[in-house]
Amino acid sequence: MKIAKILMSLALVFIGALVATETGNVVAGVVSMPLASYVVTATTGVSLFDSHGMAVATLAAIPRTAQQVANPGGGRRLFLIPTDQFTAEWPKRADIVDGESAVAPTLATGAPAPTFIEVQVSDNSLKIDQSLKGPTGYQSWEQSLDVKIAGFGKAQVAAIDKLLNTECVAVVVLTDGKRVVVGSSFLGIQFEIAHTSGAKGSDRREWTLKAKQDGYMFGYVPLADTVTLAGVSAN
């Protein structure tokens, strides 16, 4: 069939050239080609130009926060789990339906059982960001997380040391109570960590944890209320 179409196309060009030459009118030659194509299609039922339908992108309305409903910023609680405790990608784009994932992670079996650990947030310092970057055709999501932890002690030093070269997936409980997943087991977030003692008594002695990663197929993902996670308490 492809060969027939190629031959028909060549014939059309030949007909166009012939008409242009015989009539001395280039426009007549150009017009004769689609006319000939139409006649062939009408008489034989064979069309040179298959219709595949057009892939049309659709958009959805973007509502703002409803009236009489609060829209608080920030996060209340932060939970982390290393990516190597997953045995399948989580979250993944295919699981995000109507803007949230209702799929629980697939975790490794074996003792001790995988669990999220809590990072205790100080003074409204937990913030997550996402941005859609790149020109059309090259776009992907960047996700980032910032948090501060007050103090300095051996328990903190030991816990922070465990984040060394460890990619994580984070679950953040936002101030409105919604849980969102930051990062993914496929591409975990990596922390840069700083600590300052401050210079005088009123300065803040604190840890600062920052994580930023790009190349995601999605922004941070809201979790459906039906998903329960080990180590992530309800309150």
Binding site: L229, A230, V232
Partner: protein
């Protein structure tokens, strides 16, 4: 009678289920254990049907009839 079996040293792990904090143990609510098992089969808990004959009450009844 259903019995909760704790797997992989999960005792004490907390799950938030329906606005409640649920701690994993052999005495936890069976419905909660089944909920966790459904999402994480083989990871935290298992729920088994224990034959009545294996319970203490069954054994006592058996010894009486003998």
């Amino acid at each position: 009678m259903k019995k909760v079996i704790v797997l992989n040293q999960s005792t004490g792990l907390t799950f938030g289920i329906g606005g409640r904090d649920v701690s994993v143990s052999e005495t936890m609510n069976v419905a909660d254990a089944e909920f966790i098992k459904a999402q994480y089969p083989g990871v935290y808990v298992d729920v088994i049907d224990e034959p009545e004959a294996a319970t203490g009450e069954g054994k006592v009844k058996g010894s009486k009839s003998a």
